[in-house]
């Protein structure tokens, strides 16, 4: 075991994958020689050579199309999109191509591509470096969508994603790259070195990308979260002094309905968190499914705490971010109802 940041854990996952399987390759804007703007691919080009780790032109459609072509010819490409906000030029290649090649060829051709991309706010990225666009991707049949919340999961889930024969969009909450973040921007930044999930095995292991994790058992209510919001959920529940069951979804598609329904059936109350805008966000899907599966167990309307239906503002970042106060208010609301 070693202490790792999420960046190091992702780097280690790629290293382990490339060491083990020579068909794994990795590319993206600034992701070759320089090792990526966040350093996730640092040192890999030197170790594995130019044909396996390389810089790509600034063209996300080209990056994803190239990955599709390579995957259809036996490689397992890991494409880095520098910021999730930049993924949209490649949207057509994801929706119309990547997600459907297996289906439209009845399994003759498959494209096991993993797209890694940093998402979310909390670093003063402004509207073009802060988006959480996961909901768009959960609406596309044929791709998996995952988002880890800590270094241990990041490494195990990335290895599982690359080894999975389905295409995977792997969202990396960039606010968590260097340390956990509980939603309070005024506290000094925390480091992964003092967090239990910052303990990461050096070698190969996987974290199941079909399973959510109950990060904290509880009986009064269920809080569903993923990515950065997992940490905000835990801290808000502590501050509100409630016995909350906090579930880290880890995988959005296909989400772990069993774990979710079991918890909500037990607690009867539920708060859903995400950083992305509210309307047609992933929370809407979760709530619709929960009311189908858990209606008779529900004691109160389910409440969402999300980003606002506005672009992510730069200066007012913390007024946008669904922080502790808003989460505590929601907790109170579902408990009082």
């Amino acid at each position: 075991m070693a202490r790792m940041t999420m960046i190091k854990a992702i780097n280690s996952a790629l290293d382990v994958l490339m060491e083990k399987d020579e068909t794994v390759c990795s590319f993206g804007e600034d992701a070759g020689y320089f090792g990526g703007v966040f350093g996730c691919t640092e040192g890999l080009q030197e170790k594995y050579g130019l044909n396996r780790v390389f810089d790509a032109p600034i063209n996300e459609a080209a990056i994803i199309a190239m990955a599709i072509g390579m995957a259809s010819n036996g490689l397992r490409p890991v494409a880095e999109i520098q910021f999730a906000d930049y993924i949209f030029p490649g949207f057509d290649q994801i929706i119309s191509e990547l997600s459907r090649i297996r289906y439209r060829t009845a399994g003759a051709f498959t494209t096991p591509v993993t797209i890694r991309t940093p998402c979310g706010g909390g670093i003063y990225g402004g509207q073009t470096h802060s988006m959480s666009p996961e909901a768009f991707f959960t609406h596309i049949p044929g791709i998996r969508v995952v988002m880890p919340s800590n270094p241990y999961d990041a490494k195990g889930m990335l290895i599982a994603s690359v080894e999975c024969d389905d295409p995977v969009i792997f969202f990396e909450p960039k606010r968590l790259y260097n340390g956990p973040f509980d939603g309070d921007p005024h506290k000094p930044a925390l480091a992964w070195s003092s967090h239990e999930k910052g303990e990461v095995p050096k070698g190969h292991y996987t974290v199941d990308i079909n399973k959510a994790e109950i990060v904290q058992g509880g009986s009064e209510l269920t809080i569903l979260a993923y990515g950065t919001m997992v940490h905000v959920a835990k801290e808000s529940a502590r501050l509100a002094n409630v016995d909350a069951e906090v579930i880290d979804l880890r995988t959005l598609i296909p989400y772990d309905i069993k774990t979710i329904a079991k918890s909500v059936n037990k607690t009867g109350r539920c708060v859903v968190l995400h950083e992305a805008p509210r309307t047609s966000g992933f929370g809407a899907e979760l709530i619709a499914q929960i009311q189908e599966d858990c209606f008779y167990a529900l004691e109160a309307p389910i409440v969402r705490v999300t980003g606002w239906d506005t672009p992510y503002p730069h200066a007012h970042e913390w007024a946008y971010f669904p922080g502790q106060e808003r989460v505590m208010r929601a907790i109170k609301q579902v408990l009082e109802n």
Binding site: P57, A65, R104, P141
Partner: protein
């Protein structure tokens, strides 16, 4: 809004084709240089050496069917007859399928009339293991690679034997065994994918190259730029073909900027070698493809090829070309009919005659008729049997996840 009129100083310019319905076809802008006008550069020449010919036209067959010039691939008569046969078969197949669509036997069809040489001659110049990423008008490649015609028809009529389980529109073939990638309905997406495929082949140290085809209208897509950028940057072993058949449904090539510069000339800015070829001259298409394939296999990277041809039929069974272009425009097309030109060449060589040609065409029509009878025995879209209904939920993911399983149960299958 300001009424724009071309030629006026106000408003913007909207290109118009030389002729619309009721007008006399006008192809005076098509440059038909004589065979030999474009020299054949060395395989390992600098890309820039080819750029001076981006506005010219590589031709081997002259108007009388005589082969001449440096691009003559010097094929033997068996090879020439084989190409003629494959082009004839493609045309016979298209003819029948188009009619069957009109009779309600399938939902949709697209002919490659007049463009048979573009697909057949290129396929013959490639190795069978070279992966092709075609558009929907290169069915000739399937015949050239020996795909079973009944299987092709079973796909088009979406029956129980459709290898794509009824998931794709007719004509949107996939044939992995024949190194024929899946045809998308979204335009140009396959162009940069072909580059990625070729890069993987190079990375693995394999000799197979990739080739892709798009139309003139499709060059306007961003993925055209993506493909050319990737091909240029990574010197990928790929051939990128633009089939300039003059029409994109009802929009003429000028709507894609074809009046300003040739499509071959698009490659100049990327530093890619570019060839502009008479697409109705099977020998020229063969030679250009062979040149580009040799270059790619020698590690010298990608080539952009524009094949100049004419779409002899509607875009698909869903449009009426009489509404946007002169009805008899194809008859005035200065580069003629690819089948007739190869036939004339073979007759000139003494290797073919009218009788053999007639016999071939009627045999092919009969082959197609019998193949359809057999295909129909496996079902039709309208009458069934189709692939099992439950199969609509398969192959979305490797394994069926819970939410799709629930939806399948909801449908009761």
């Amino acid at each position: 809004m300001k009424q724009q009129k071309n030629g006026n100083k106000t408003g913007f310019f909207v290109p118009e084709p030389p002729a619309r319905p009721g007008e006399r076809p006008d192809f005076s802008n098509v440059d038909c240089s004589a065979p030999g006008a474009v020299p054949m550069p060395a395989i390992d020449c600098a890309a820039q050496r080819t750029h001076e010919f981006a506005g010219g036209l590589i031709r081997v067959l002259d108007d009388k069917g005589h082969a001449d010039g440096p691009w003559d691939p010097e094929l033997n008569t068996n090879e020439l007859v084989e190409m003629l046969r494959l082009m004839g078969l493609t045309r016979a197949y298209d003819e029948r399928m188009f009619k069957l669509q009109r009779q309600g036997k399938m939902s949709f069809y697209m002919k490659s009339l007049g463009e048979e040489a573009v697909a057949v001659a290129a396929a013959k110049a490639l190795d069978d293991e070279d992966m092709v990423f075609p558009s929907y008008r290169q069915q000739g490649i399937l015949f050239a690679r020996g795909r079973d015609m009944v299987d092709m028809m079973c796909h088009c009529i979406s029956n129980s034997k459709d290898n794509l389980k009824g998931r794709q529109l007719p004509v949107h073939y996939t044939w992995k065994e024949g190194s024929f990638f899946s045809i998308s309905g979204n335009l140009c997406t396959q162009f940069p994918q072909a580059v990625g495929w070729a890069m993987a082949s190079a990375a693995k140290g394999e000799s197979a190259i990739a080739a892709s085809w798009i139309g003139d209208g499709t060059t306007a897509e961003g993925d055209f730029h993506s493909a050319l950028t990737l091909a240029s940057v990574y010197k990928a072993p790929v051939i990128l073909n633009v089939v300039n058949n003059q029409w994109a449904i009802s929009s003429f090539a000028g709507i894609a900027g074809g009046d300003q510069a040739s499509f071959a000339a698009r490659g100049i800015g990327y530093g890619l070698p570019t060839l502009r070829v008479d697409g109705n001259d099977a020998l020229a298409v063969y030679a250009a493809t062979q040149w580009a394939a040799k270059r790619a296999r020698s590690g010298l990277g990608a080539t952009l090829i524009e094949t100049v041809t004419y779409r002899g039929e509607s875009h698909s069974t869903s449009d009426d070309p009489g509404k946007y272009r002169p009805k008899d425009e194809w008859k005035s097309w200065p580069l003629g009919d690819p089948l007739e030109r190869l036939k004339a060449h073979l007759i000139g060589l003494g290797a073919w005659n009218e009788q053999r040609h007639e016999d071939m065409l009627s045999e092919q029509a009969e082959t197609v008729r019998l193949a359809y009878k057999e295909a129909e025995s496996f079902g039709t879209l309208r009458e069934g049997p189709l692939s099992p209904t439950a199969s609509i939920f398969d192959d979305v993911y490797v394994e069926q996840p819970w939410h799709i399983r629930r939806q399948r149960q909801d449908l009761g299958v």
